[in-house]
Symmetry: C2
Subunit: 302 residues, 2 copies
Amino acid sequence: MSAQATEEIANHSGLRIKTLAVIGVGLIGGSFAAACRKAGIVSHVIGAGRRPETLAQAQALGLIDEATTLEEAAVRADLIFIAAPVGAFESIFTALASKLNPDALITDGGSTKQNVVAAAHAGLKSRIGQFVPAHPMAGSHEKGPQAADATLYAGKRVILTPLPENKADDVARIQAVWQACGAIVSTTTPAQHDGMVAAVSHLPHWIAALFMQHIVASQDSALKLQTAGTGFRDFTRVAQGSAEMWSDIFMANRDAMLRELKDLRAVMDRAEDALQHADQAWLREMLEAAAKSRAEWPGNQK
Amino acid sequence: MSAQATEEIANHSGLRIKTLAVIGVGLIGGSFAAACRKAGIVSHVIGAGRRPETLAQAQALGLIDEATTLEEAAVRADLIFIAAPVGAFESIFTALASKLNPDALITDGGSTKQNVVAAAHAGLKSRIGQFVPAHPMAGSHEKGPQAADATLYAGKRVILTPLPENKADDVARIQAVWQACGAIVSTTTPAQHDGMVAAVSHLPHWIAALFMQHIVASQDSALKLQTAGTGFRDFTRVAQGSAEMWSDIFMANRDAMLRELKDLRAVMDRAEDALQHADQAWLREMLEAAAKSRAEWPGNQK
């Protein structure tokens, strides 16, 4: 969507957010607040979260205008963005539910969607229709409000997984907010979302972490690490992510991960068999196909 | 080594190369020629190789001064650098052997060392002592003389795997040449070298290629590739390498690769078992250890 089109939505179709509440004012939440401000669609930002010092830091940085409780956020906000660890979602939804402004919408930044939707049902109950689940495919190894960046979502994909209980207008409004933050929005079901991210995001993290463990536990590991070059560097980069966040993700997306691991194992077994039998023609064909797919991947230039 | 120290070696300890012959004038060979020229240690560079047009291009780019046959290179050169596909090494050694200047030294850029040493024994026979095997841990996805870069080896590791037949002075001379190209030189045995690179270079390439194949062959592959972000990008980057080169490497380093795959499988099975049994404490501890190892890896800032 062009900047002009975004501007028109902001001015003419009710995109303007009087009060935005951000639950969890770290990288993801702080960047969302900053992006909404930059797009000129928000008047006032309130923040809530576990740690008073993080809220104070976010306020000092101008990401939020004031810190409040969850209950006060529920009463006052017309848009609520939840950017907390996924394990905390159910209690956040429960705290919001009873006080929730009937016109308010909720969206989120959780990396898995089926478990977030289950938490929303459990916490929001009859207010479930006010929640439009989202997963912004953007991040950084940096953490906290000081890492927040108004352009974090610019050009990045955000996947919405709307619920049967959502009104079409509400889904369109959440989509327009994410587009105003610069994101490219697509829509799928929670189950399909979780299968896709298990494959292209969670599985690489899993393998990179286990590969690091394999190297560190092996003979000559210090020499090996000294020898390792740029291929190793890129292949293992994601293994640096937060263990807290990633163990939550793997547990939340366990079924899809186990399916992915089973399918990958079949591919790896076939290739190991070819190597064992010195079937170089097969290996070369496989490597050519892989190189071609990777070179043609649309994200190659990113 | 400081520039001044390099200069001293060049001037005072016989590092100066009267005639350098480069066999295979692509990225690796062309960069070696350019780096030796930049260090001021070479007077004249001759090139040999399969394709006349590549030699003409290397000459036009000033990487080599003239193109010759292998036999003429053997007669005239006092240093020969072999940067051909490893599969061609034995016939190159054979062509060089009978005409080889008795004072000449040979080094190489091959990615595996046990098979190169075997090819050198078969081809060079009694002249085996004149060959000091090397593996520069540097490269690029770009190919050919036009990709050659005098700084390709600057700050990069070069692993020497000297042979029992080498004279200590000759090993020192080859080490000094690589250092003059800017490389950080370390020394090990061919077998240990092959084990190390199987672990930190060949195994990541293997997994990245098979992971690409797994994604492409799976349900919703187009959607998945559209969704994939920067983690996917870095994890799969090496899968773009040349299928010809990499199938050679996997075949050449088959035993070490099969050992690596067996050990990695044990690590992955243990982790899958933890995921299957929802052992989040184990997962978190594993992820924390992996993140710590990766963050502490000395190459992290590269």
